[in-house]
């Protein structure tokens, strides 16, 4: 056995299948994603095709197995949920037609609702984007970037791209407010109101 394999045996986590299964969690994921997690037979095709495994802490087929075992906390505190780009490779290639990317999205919704954010910058970027849509009705890319930079304090983010982008007029420097921007803001605010209930 080489060192890597020894290491993975040492790191292996024991899951108590007699007492540690959160059945309510499995049901909730199944209901929100309209998918049956039990259909997964661990062929590993999703992970084989996933371009993001190199940054995941838990590969996607293991997320599926942990889901079958009702391991809510392990899943919702993983980095993988926040790094999935919904590229649909897993969904397209699952031999049992499980919409794996939809399950990953639903798990991310749950992690967000329960306050588990393992990739803060990813969430902050998405929040900045939606804030811009709430304000203008369309996303104002430069405004989104500025808001992201001020929230994260990452002032050097892409700073070197600035001259290229501005010289070529690659990015609009003024927001396009639509007439119905209030309607768009209402969509988002109604959703946020429902979520609080």
């Amino acid at each position: 056995m080489d060192d890597n394999n020894k290491q993975s045996v040492v790191n292996m986590e024991c899951v108590r299948l007699d007492s540690g299964i959160d059945y309510g969690f499995i049901d909730q994921v199944a209901q929100e994603s309209e998918q049956d997690p039990a259909l997964c037979y661990q062929c590993g095709n999703c992970t084989a095709g996933c371009p993001y495994t190199f940054v995941y802490d838990i590969p996607v087929h293991k997320i599926m197995r942990l889901l079958q075992a009702g391991q809510k906390n392990t899943i919702l505190t993983s980095h993988s949920l926040w790094l999935c780009a919904t590229c649909e490779s897993c969904t397209t290639r699952c031999p049992n037609n499980i919409d794996v990317a939809r399950i990953m999205d639903v798990l991310r919704h749950m992690a967000r609702r329960e306050g588990h954010v393992t990739e803060k910058r990813v969430k902050q970027f998405n929040d900045s984007f939606l804030k811009s849509v709430t304000k203008h009705g369309r996303v104002f890319e430069l405004g989104t970037l500025t808001s992201y930079v001020s929230r994260t304090g990452r002032f050097w983010t892409d700073a070197e791209l600035g001259p290229k982008v501005l010289a070529k007029g690659k990015i609009a420097t003024r927001a396009h407010d639509i007439q119905g921007k209030d309607q768009v803001a209402k969509i988002i605010n109604r959703f946020l109101g429902d979520e609080k209930k």
Partner: protein, 298 residues
């Protein structure tokens, strides 16, 4: 015939900003080929990735406001050049086929969405409604001698149950169009592999690795240029190419066109109209390799 080719047009937010070149070249080639685009009045953002990562009803509602606006236009199809907009509009329509989901979406909207309009990509209607044959007949300046790899990005065709267009693993629509334009289209096994998507800002390391792989394969295949259909892919491969070079100690020098820009050139439209000057990796040397028809005829 031309009356059949009338569509509601959804440009997407990036079309007003970082992919203005895609939007303008799309409009120009559609006009030249006899497609009529009617902008959806006062369209709003589809929510893109940030919305669907928060909630599926929210995401569908942001898209459905636009579906509802299109319903009032008396057209049956919306077309959009952007795969991210395409996915959101199509997924919203797909999920709203379920009544309970449609009710939840409509509860967030001011104007009711009946979900009667379908959404397709500009690429899909070019291939299915107009046909590659008609494109080929309209070519006046063939792209002879230009070696290109077509890169579709990950969500133009996936998941197949929702996108319902072309092959999800080996799409051929752009290959066929580019071949009709006279270009030398090379096989590109990573044509649906993700470029890193919207992680360019928050996790640049991801885009460097994934887009770096695409640039590497394109160069190793001997391509003069990459051809894309997605604003985010184009930005990652073009604008970030120098960042990728710096991080990977590489020397990639590959122009990244929108397929609509090359289509416009082959139709004889002016370079200025295709906004080629917006490309960060300069395309002039590569475009100089296109053989003049006179020279080719001799």
């Amino acid at each position: 015939m031309s009356s059949d080719l009338t569509y509601a047009y959804y440009p997407g937010c990036s079309g007003l900003s970082t992919s203005k070149d895609y939007d303008e070249s799309t409009r120009a080639i559609c006009t030249a080929l006899g497609l009529t685009l009617q902008d959806i009045p006062d369209w709003s953002c589809c929510g893109s990735t940030p919305a669907h990562t928060v909630d599926h009803v929210l995401s569908a509602a942001l898209s459905a406001r636009n579906l509802a606006l299109a319903e009032s236009m008396g057209v049956d199809t919306i077309i959009t050049p952007c795969p991210s907009c395409l996915t959101n509009l199509k997924v919203a329509g797909h999920r709203m086929e379920k009544d309970s989901f449609k009710q939840e979406v409509n509860a967030l909207l001011d104007t009711h969405c009946a979900n009667t309009v379908v959404t397709k990509s500009v690429l899909q209607v070019l291939v299915e409604d107009l046909g590659v044959q008609r494109i080929e007949e309209a070519v006046s300046k063939p792209l002879k001698g230009l070696k290109v790899v077509p890169y579709y990005g990950c969500i133009m065709n996936r998941p197949p149950e929702v996108m319902n267009f072309d092959d999800p693993e080996n799409p051929m629509a752009m290959d066929r169009i580019l071949t009709a334009l006279g270009a030398d289209v090379l096989d590109f096994p990573l044509k649906v592999e993700c470029c890193g998507g919207s992680y360019g800002v928050a996790r640049k390391d991801i885009v460097i690795r994934l887009s770096g792989k695409l640039l590497e394969l394109a160069r190793d295949r001997g391509a003069d240029a990459i051809v894309t259909a997605c604003p985010l892919c184009q930005m990652n491969l073009d604008l970030r190419q120098a960042q990728i070079n710096a991080a990977l100690k590489e020397t990639f020098d590959l122009p990244v066109f929108y397929y609509t820009q090359l289509l416009g050139l082959a139709l004889g439209l002016r370079q200025e109209e295709m906004l080629l000057k917006k490309l960060v990796v300069k395309p002039w040397k590569v475009l100089g390799r296109i053989e003049e028809p006179e020279a080719a005829a001799v």
